[in-house]
Amino acid sequence: MEMTELEIFTQLLTASLIIMVWSFLYRENVFYRIAEHLAIGSFFGYILYMSLKTLYDKTLVPLAATWAPDLVLVTIIGILMWTRLVPKLVWPSRISISVLAGISMAVAVTGAVSGQIIGQIRPMGSWAGQDLMTNVNNIISAVAAFTSLAFFTYTKEHKGVLRVVSRIGRTFIMVCFGAILGTFLMGNLAFSIGQIPSLVTGYGVYVSVAGIILIMADLILSKRKMERS
């Protein structure tokens, strides 16, 4: 299939940026820094554009059309946030922050009670589960929760029974962290695997070869420099 010039340029640019970022694995260098600044700059530009577009489409246009009281209130709260830019007028922005913090807290806490506390306890209403493994799981969950809490008990010195119980809790915490680290590793492998096709297919191959040559040249030059000194 014939590729357009734009597609070729996109492939080359994508591969170049990936190689520039990955070159950090070799050592800190100017190509990495260019890619880093480019990524941060373009990200903030893009976020600014999307924020303004969303503000325009979802608040300002409906506001101009209906003057609905809730939209007027939201707009005033939003405008008050900007008063932070004037040092003498910082206080009105605190109203906006309080409203935002209050709403976020209320929404999260309401959901947490029903979902994270009651929702998690309700299915464990009975020790007798549907099958043997469910029962074993329920017992392990309860023991893990109880002993992990004991590990975080700082008001009493960990001696005697508390020492034994908190040690068991520590083991459960370590197992939990190990499992999280394992899944974290798996996820992060996927991030790099997703970028590989851009480097080994199409015009990305040329960029990869150029990157490898540059790194090898740098290795040789650094070795000679070390030998001379």
Partner: protein, 283 residues
């Protein structure tokens, strides 16, 4: 002279081996086996189980970071949902709450894969599917999507007022929705707002945070989930819409083997040397 590598060169060696390993399947087909788990099967059957003319609310809360892991699976999910819209008149509501990336990615799936692939043939925007775009506020918006959609989304992604979208006239809150779903990095925020609503809820979550999904799933709050890129590959196999996730599985498996080797070999060497030192000192 000992051929011992400096710590910096040890790191470099690991990176080189890792990059070569994950690049290998792109050049040669390794073809390691990929069994489909019950989670992916259940994910597929839950989506298939939506009633005719039912409504699916799908929140694409991905970032460009998670896209390389979950993007391919997301495309397969969109294709599956649109094919159900074609076959059984299921109506689709797409939204984003976490940040603007999701809205852009959602729009690009429709533009680059759904419409050119013929998955929107016979369907009409505003009657069969709607893209609400980014609804800033994340958790508060998630709440709004199940309590009063019209209040939280005054206009769609293209700036059309919601009251002018025919399909949205009878979709106002969770009572009108048959299936909730989201994809992204997090789950707790969604569980807090969607848990206990009595509606099936499916998740495509990053493998990095999949451990967070387990308590929600074990307690039956999340119906089922796709576990990162692997889950996406399984889903691609089930739907037949194969993409990057499927081809990335060999690389994923080889990467895991390297990670296991890096964990085992140095520890084994350390223990062996320790044992050797101990036996030398006792002599």
């Amino acid at each position: 002279m000992s051929p011992k590598l400096s710590p910096l060169n040890q790191d470099r060696l690991i990176f080189i081996v890792y990059i070569l390993l994950i690049a290998l399947p792109s050049l040669l087909v390794v073809g390691l086996p990929l069994p489909v788990t019950s989670l992916a099967k259940s994910f597929h059957s839950t989506i298939e189980g939506v009633r005719d003319r039912g409504v699916v609310l799908w929140v694409t809360d991905q970032t460009f970071g998670t896209w390389v892991e979950l993007g391919s699976g997301e495309i397969a999910i969109y294709k599956h949902l649109f094919s159900l819209a074609q076959r059984r008149g299921i109506r689709l509501v797409f939204a984003t709450t976490y940040n603007a990336d999701g809205a852009v990615l959602s729009a690009s799936i429709v533009q680059d894969h759904i419409i050119p692939g013929g998955f929107a043939k016979g369907l009409k925007y505003g009657e069969n599917w709607v893209q609400l775009g980014w609804l800033p506020g994340w958790e508060a918006s998630l709440r709004g999507l199940v309590t009063d959609i019209h209040k939280v989304a005054r206009a769609d992604y293209f700036g059309t007022p919601i009251e002018k979208i025919p399909m949205m006239k009878d979709i106002t809150s969770v009572k009108d929705i048959d299936l909730l779903g989201h994809s992204g990095y997090y789950i707790d925020e969604y569980g807090r707002q969607w848990g206990g609503l009595g509606k099936p809820w499916v998740v495509s979550i990053s493998a990095t945070t999949v451990a967070m999904a387990k308590p929600w799933f074990e307690k039956g709050i999340v119906t089922t989930y796709l576990n990162g890129q692997r889950g996406c590959a399984e889903y691609e196999a089930l739907t037949g819409y194969r993409g990057l996730a499927t081809s990335a599985m060999d690389a994923q498996s080889l990467g895991h083997l390297l990670a296991i080797a890096i964990l085992i070999v140095p520890n084994a060497l350390y223990l062996a040397r320790k044992g050797l030192r101990r036996s030398n000192s006792t002599r």
